[in-house]
Amino acid sequence: MNNAEPISVFNSGKYIIISLENEIISPEEIYYDLNSIIQEININQDIWVVGFDLTKVAKICDIKSSSESLNISLTKLILEIKKPVIGLVSGEISNRLFEMILPMDYRITDKKSIFIMSQIFNDNMQFDGATQLLPRIIGLNKSKELIMFGKQINSKEAHEMGLVNIIVDEEKLNEIFTRKIELLTQFSPLAMQFTKSAINFSKDTNTIRGMNMENDLYSILLSSKDRTSSINSIKNKNKRKPYSGK
């Protein structure tokens, strides 16, 4: 993978951190690079966890060309990532930047961050999935407050709503971000991917169909080398070998 501005990529082997480097980001500017990075993440079995560091971004602009607007969706790209995605944000998380964190699986922020979607006041509206993704995270009532009335919330309120998973001190943002990512690299990558996939599927199906899918994914995992070695180590009371993702 090439490190290309305005996106930088840190690849540790088992995890990858994608950082957006500019304060003001235009979606067109990053979309195609991000698309190739994500395609590689999905096919590269050595990458188990993905982190998005968005702390340097103050604003993601609207798409300039209306003809391209339907094709350029940053949230759609993130939704396509099969591996767990952890997002790191700080400061004022507004509009398109706010939308960009919604498809991530785990969100970390600091105590001073604020979250706002003010499109409604600017003869504008959400573009990148917020009307669909936000209610699935914080429920319909609170989503309407945020989207229809442009209500601003602080980190504490965002945490209480379930919009962010953890609030940390500003100076510890990177440390906790890396620690959370590294924690996930201790777990079975296949089990994480399958579990993520089953949870996401549950939004789009009824419970019984979802349970059948869960059953199928569980059965596929039965033949994995990691699963066999994990169960054998428990049975034989041995220390478990690190997972291989095979």
Binding site: Y106, G139, N165, L183, M192, T207, I208, E214, Y243
Partner: protein
């Protein structure tokens, strides 16, 4: 009838299913699951029973699946078909009468998923909730990936299932996973008693329909759900 790993008690309209595998912290083995299923079906067809309480007679509610039975099934295909066709978890989800779980100690893996399939959860403060599957290279198989979203939101579901972190009763209460908690088990039992006493006077048919409609709200679109509510409401008049 008696069962090896399940104790059953019926007092007027209240049935109690008590996990009884204390040597293994109520880990669910194949026989225990089969007995649980049998008792649940008996509760389902007994019209005297209006509410079922699932609880433990030892220090832990349920420590999940019995891992000593893992890797013993001859065929993956066979195991998949059996669990799909004879699925205790679907029976729990489709159970028409209210189910209350009264927990203490470990509520792990399938134990956690059982409370997510129930309607009300009363927990002692000793209760520890955890989904350890991804840590063990497993995925949930008792409906967890589907039922968590019925009670809580997707961010919390992912936090619990992808990070395998233990959560205590306070967090579980804030997440909407449990309904009531206390550090005094007797207070908890009294709360459950009052709760089941209230149910005594309610018409069973109405109770079943309201539960069905509420579950439907997580399944169907709003207009179809509203249609069924009007339909059932009219037929009950």
């Amino acid at each position: 009838m008696s069962w090896e790993y399940i104790k059953f008690d019926k007092n007027e309209h209240v049935a109690k299913i008590i996990f009884n595998n204390p040597q293994k912290n109520n880990a669910l083995n194949i026989l225990m699951r089969s007995e649980f299923s049998e008792v649940l079906n008996a509760c389902s067809i007994d019209d005297e029973i209006k509410v079922v309480i699932i609880t433990t007679n030892s220090e832990n509610f349920c420590s999940g699946a019995d891992l000593s039975e893992f890797n013993t099934f001859p065929s993956i295909v066979e195991s998949n078909l059996i669990s799909k066709n004879n699925n205790l978890w679907k029976d729990l989800y489709n159970f028409e009468k209210p189910i209350i779980c009264l927990t203490k100690g470990w509520v792990i893996g399938s134990g956690f998923e059982i409370i997510m399939l129930s309607d009300f959860v009363f927990s002692h403060t000793s209760s520890i909730f955890k989904m350890p599957e991804v840590e063990l290279s497993l995925t949930p198989i008792s409906g967890g990936t589907q039922t968590f979203l019925n009670k809580t939101n997707i961010a919390i579901a992912k936090e619990i299932m992808l990070f395998s972190e233990e959560i205590d009763v306070y967090k579980a209460y804030n997440f909407g996973i449990i309904n009531f908690y206390s550090d005094d088990y007797n207070i908890l039992i009294e709360q459950v008693r009052k709760f089941t006493e209230n149910i005594k006077t309610i018409d069973l048919k109405r109770l079943k329909i309201v539960k069905k409609l509420l579950n439907l709200s997580t399944e169907e679109n709003l207009y179809l759900g509203k249609h069924w509510e009007q339909y059932y409401s009219t037929t009950l008049r």
